[in-house]
Amino acid sequence: MSPSVPLQEMIRAIRSARTQCEERGVIQRECAAIRAQFRQADNGGRSHNLAKLLYVHMLGYPAHFGQMECVRMIASPRYSEKRVGYLGAMMLLDEKQDASLLITNSIKKKVHDLGELFAPAARSLLSEKNHGVLHGAVVLITELCERNPETLERFRKTVPDLVQIMKGLVISGYSPEHDVAGISDPFLQVRILRLLRILGRNNEAASDAMNDLLAQVATNTDSTKTVGNAVLYETVLTVLDIKSESGLRVLAVNILGRFLLNNDRNIRYIAMTSLQRIVGTDHNAVQRHRGTIVDCLKDQDASVKRRALELSLALVSATNIRSMMKELLLFLSSCPPELKSQAASGIFNAAERYAPSQRWHIDTILHVLTTAGGDVRDETVPNLIQLITNTSELHCYTVHKLYRALLTDISQQSLVQVACWCIGEYGDLLLRGECQETEPVQVTEDDVLDALETVLQSHMSSPATRGFALTATMKLSTRITDNVDRIRSIVSIYGSCIDVELQQRAVEYNALFKKYDHMRAAVLERMPVIEKNSPGHTNGESTKEAVKEIQPAKVKQAETLLPQQPTNQVCDLLDLLGGSEEPLQPNSAAGSTVPVLPISTSSTAGGDLLDLLGGLEPAPLTPAVTVYEKGGVTLTLSSEKQSDSGLMVTLTASNSTDSDISSFTLQAAVPKSVQLHMKAPSGDFLPARGAAKVTQMVVLNNPNKVNLKMRIRVSYTSQGSAVQDTVQVDSFPEH
């Protein structure tokens, strides 16, 4: 007896309950009744009760007390009860996780053996006429082939049979039983195509056998309805996956192109999904449709947008980078929030790989930071800083742009951090007020300090950002002239800040003002260029470390290094020159200096420090003169005239002994009126037997045209012992 009437009454009662509370009351009463009935002996209502219980379960209420009843009902000879019992078992017994897990596990173990059993049976089933059976057979064979490569080999022989069946379906007349909108049994067709895909993959012979069929299906299928498109879709996937001939591949890609232009969003979505799969292999074919894909970025639908974004990022190449980036940036400003971070990181990667110029690269990154600053990854900040330091000619431009961005909006943390860092480093360029690349802004020192203070005090700034701002303020103390007191007061205020990191920095900077004022200039010089770990590849970790090292917080490190600075040694050296008291280079506040520390403090060997004196045409080099030769170490000197009073001297050292020399350093001193700048050496390691040389450049400025002399002290470690020697150069080879 069908359990309809009492069940329907209960359903009506539940539905008429107006509040959740009422509903729960009704359900509790019903459940109590059901439980009572289950406990009783058999009556006419068992299937009704179980059906009621299933309804209650579907609404989400607990129904586990019906499980035993299900088992009993399955065993009943009454058909109605059996039916409902099985339904109940399927729905309620799922809760018993252990039982179902055990069942599935035991089946899984036997799959391999079962496979052996079923393979011959499946083969014979392919000759069945009944579509239902045929469909089942195809599904079975697909599963067998997917799990077991040997079975796959054996079933390759069925390809001609499958092709035959498929042809029959495609050409056959109208069959009312299986017809869907003019296509005969699309379910079966799609399954056969899928099986053909698996069989034809990586196999020439099988692929050849199905070429004709696939071409026929692709051309003859009516694509006005979804059904037709479903079959075409499967065909395209098959063609692209097997070893098909090129004509067929072109046909497939064209079908995808047609899909892309379809009005139906679903079709466009799956077209992009399929193109994503082949963008690696048939890149040019997909490039042809780039315009349509980029248009899909503007579609309303979120799913379509996501696909379009992924595909667009895959299509970016060196030739189309500029136009693609314009579109992508436009997309970024209006894209849904869940796609923002994916878009931002995709843009960064693309910019990294294909940037046509440095300036474009910086502009792009700045644009992304202003539109989606909150969604970028943390490594963006150090990467960007590294990029900026590498492009020395654009410092002026960059700092102007960043300053303007800072004035408009201080909520995007990454942008603010980079801006603070740049203002700290290149504040002098900002204040100078002239810039070739962009409209200069007339900025006073107060304006700059105001901007940094706003960042410091704003509640929107994260602690890291405030750290950046404080250090930038400190750095400006050497680059500006008038408001040093203001900086001093800012720094001392933060000496009692609650944030421990800020407090520590402020206290140290305070100390720098008070006790170590003579070192302040040297400590707060321009940063040297940061080395990337491997070329063209931002190794997030090490650059982070490198930046962390060089980051303003490492004023401490520089401070500790400085005392090693041989101030006394230098004085000695200079004493030897007969009383010339040229102190070793306080950096002029103009900031246009190059770090002068004779010992290279940074570990960036081999990178030329920022050379703001560059741009002068170097005069041809004079021949190298050997100025020192002792203990196997040879030092040669060559010079070139830079200007009327400027001279660029190159010192080259080589090691002809049999043992390596390490910690090789040079120090130099010149007469009083001559200015000396030593650049970082190319290294401090001299391998044995002259395998490599160390060069160091020294820039001399002799405005008074005194007689040029130079005293050079050589120090190194060889075979575990330290060696020091001095040599005087009295005459310089000149033109």
């Binding site: 039916r83 339904l87 579509h131 679903n266 379509v304």
Partner: protein
């Protein structure tokens, strides 16, 4: 294969749930919650396909009911739309002009029809008439009250 099939109303009330893989009760509830939150707010003319975890979700709205399936990676989404349509046609044939109320009050019949059409996450019977014929046969086997009471219950 199809992992699950859900039917829910526009207010998010579940009308039918069919699971083709074993899941714990908590996981099922989570899936149902996620599906309703993903599908219901979508604007009317948007694409019928979604990505959720590692599954493709295909949904279609028929009158006041949303039919939602979760597919695996290699399955054909457009064909899944056809599967849903075929199921609705079968229901329509059986109930005669089916509406949501029919499915609410005769949910066990809806399940029986589904079990004749899909098995183990795959289409079982592609013929339109075969499923209807099987249901009719099964209904004739349902006993009347006298037959019911006269059989022994064990």
């Amino acid at each position: 294969m199809i992992r699950f099939l859900l039917l829910f109303s526009r207010q998010g009330k579940l009308r039918l749930q069919k699971w083709f893989t074993p899941l714990s009760d908590r996981e099922k509830k989570k899936v149902i919650r996620d599906m309703t939150t993903l599908v219901l707010p979508r604007p009317p003319r948007s694409s019928n396909f979604l990505q959720w975890r590692d599954l493709k979700i295909v949904y279609k709205r028929y009158a006041s009911l949303y039919f939602c399936v979760g597919l695996e990676e290699q399955d054909n989404e457009l064909l899944a739309l056809e599967v849903l349509h075929r199921y609705v046609e079968l229901l329509d044939k059986y109930f005669g002009n089916v509406c949501e109320l029919d499915i609410i009050f005769n949910f066990e019949k809806a399940y029986f029809i589904l079990d004749e059409f899909l098995l183990g996450g795959e289409v079982l019977e592609t013929s339109k008439f075969a499923v209807g014929a099987t249901m009719e046969e099964a209904d004739t086997l349902q006993e009347t009250m006298e037959e019911y009471m006269s059989k022994r219950a064990y």
